[in-house]
Amino acid sequence: MTTRREFLKVSAAGGLVFGFHLPAANAQNVAPEINAWVVVRPDDTVIIRYARSEMGQGSMTSAAQLVAEELDCDWSKVRVEYADTNAHVRRKRVWGDMAAVGSRTIRQSQDYLRKAGAGAREMLLIAAAQGWNAPVAECTASDGVITHGPSGRKTSFGKVAGEAAKLAPPKEVTLKDPKDWKIAGKPIKRVDIPDIVAGRIRYGIDAQLPGMVYAAIAQCPVFGGRLKSVDAAKIEGRRGVIKVLPMEDYVAVVADNWWRAKEALKELPIEWSFGAGESASSESILQFLRSGLDDASNVVVARRNGELEQGLAGAAKVLEAEYFTPYLAHATLEPMGCTAVVKDGRVDVWTSTQNAEASHATAAATAGVPLENVYVHRVQLGGGFGRRGGSQDFVRQGVQIAKAMGSTPVKLLWTREEDTQHDFYRPLSVVRIKAGLDASGNPVAWYSRVSAPSIISTLLKLPLKEGVDPQAVASFADQPYAIPNVLIEYAQRNPHVPVGFWRTVGHSQNPFMRESFVDELAKAAGKDPYEYRRGLLPAATKEHGVLEATAKAARWAEPLPAGVHRGIAVTEAYGSYVAAVAELAVSDKNVVDIKRLVLGIDSGHVVNPDNVVAQMQGSAVFMLSAMFWGEITIKDGRVEQSNFHDYRMMRLREMPKVEVVLAPSGGFWGGIGEPGQAAIAPAICNALFAATGKRVRSLPLKNHGFEIA
């Protein structure tokens, strides 16, 4: 049902070959473009353009649903096509933001996508009306058919598209009320399912070009180190080895196939200048971060309400705890890579990226060519999770290597070990939390100091407003509970380990800490954890609503079978509100049998309910893997983990039942890709406490002897 405007050619040997992008033969020129988002072919096929990236999160389909809804076309005739980055640059960024990050694709683009659909529909109606010499107000569109009410005359989109394309876009359009949606809001099957099932999907790693050579790279094992020397002579004679390329911060070996490149690289003597990072270890890093909890200077205030000291002084009971979450790797199934060719001042790139525009800009800057000379060929990603958005290191490397290889196409591919050990990790974080309860057990004071690296400062090198990195203090600085005296502090401490955006970012760790500590307060107050939270959340808040809906779906009030215990948590993340209830049993050998996970989400609107459910379930897989086993440890400045044997992922048989409660309250647009993870860890850990009396204050669970059933 889907085609994509990549030029797939079947070679004589039976493999699939990418053709070069030829602007002249571009399908974008052969059928009438009603506007930049909507092309209608004479045969009524509707091509809807998708600007962002598809990495399994399903936005490609949801975005198209929004356009198609307002367009009033026949969904069965819709094809989705990536917007071309070269055309994007030449047309002054006509497709806007191309980044699939921050769970923003739908919520950031829904307005202009819907307007594009509505605008295109208006133009088609006007074209039909003009053809009939009838007032456009008497014409309506439905399923790609235009009808003139009074006369009953009909025509189709395809027949009037040519004329519609010549019209000026309408200045104003009216959008439908979501309650009238027929395409959006429905559990429509994702447009890429047939291609996925038939193995036709092309990922960055699948790029094949005539005459292509392969590159493997080694970066300095210690972060921040520099290349000193290589002894290329040692491997130059090896079969298939074409070139050894020493670069400032990596060495590349280019060969006629990737295995030979990788094996040759293993035998290549490389001398690194490791730098100061060599002395770092997980222990020294933890010590450094913990010092941030006590430092009097180099600490900033992220939030202040009332008077913390007074609140604590007047409290009947004061509780304090320290929480820790480790570095985590993205571990995308497809490792980093980039295929590129630099020829006659033109650069062509095939790479799995979460931001094709960023890859385009990086390729242009690296090759030193104007933006108009770069072509980023769109592909699907074998997992992104934030690795491929804010860092385009693999594109910089791919283009550098291609440039060094003349006009020969080069496929750069990282090994799994390189990928695991040269990630931009989810930052580790140490947080001290202190709260005071009044005689009734209600919190009257809350203090948190976060000591953690800053992604925004170190990766993006952007200044922080008043020194606060909002990601590092997420869910603390914006905590929703009615507590009169609040002080949230942030100590930015950057060890030498590079950090980046890992799915759900600050909300992947801080809600675990916050909601676990709220549970500690509830316990101290002798109250039910659900009722305790319900009492503290103002009734009008979205948190209150989703908490209730989730607890109700989980039948919180009903007793559980013997040996089964529950935990609950609620938080906001990326504009949506999520809650989780975990039901589990723990054996005397600390084997955790998760009976059920109930995840609730209020995202305001839901464009594709089936996809939201899938994203919530996928979030469960991702977060359960991370919380049970995920940790990146450092020794002698290097990452100790390398592959899936020591960076464990969940197995199919370990997956618990996940029930999803969709509770969209309307009126706003919240994200879907990341919020799902946020409430899971605290819900599980709170259930573990109920089951064992053991309070987990650091992850992963394996370090506490817990295993999954």
């Binding site: 100061a276 450094f288 941030g292 430092d295 200077s297 180099n298 400062s457 200044p463 922080l464 100590a491 930015q492 401490r493 950057n494 060890p495 030498h496």
Partner: protein, 105 residues
């Protein structure tokens, strides 16, 4: 501070020539942190001037908004043979200068 100058060695009287200079300087924004959490102090080249045979022909006031290793390219009218002198000072009070001769025919 090291600097590299781009200047035509020779020009015709009255010709508008392009002058370029690249100064080695980190232009610290004041937002970077040392490993222990201390801020690397803000230190940028604030004032820069070019004198042609003693007469100021170009002056720039800069901020952290100018990229590290500041690069400036401007124009001046070639009047007489002599020397172009470039001078600057940063927030830490460190001065820098460079000079290059020009022949005007």
């Amino acid at each position: 501070m090291a600097a590299r100058i781009q200047l035509p060695g020779r020009a015709r009287r009255g010709e508008v020539i392009r002058v370029g200079i690249l100064i080695q300087h980190p232009m610290e924004t004041g937002y970077r942190l040392e490993v222990d959490g201390r801020k690397v102090p803000k230190n940028v080249i604030r004032s820069f001037a070019c004198r042609y045979n003693g007469v100021e022909v170009f002056r720039a006031e800069m901020s952290p908004g100018i990229a590290a290793n500041p690069f400036l390219q401007f124009h001046t009218v070639a009047l007489d043979s002599g020397e172009l002198e470039f001078s600057w000072v940063d927030d830490a009070g460190q001065p820098g200068s460079a000079r290059e001769a020009i022949e005007v025919i």
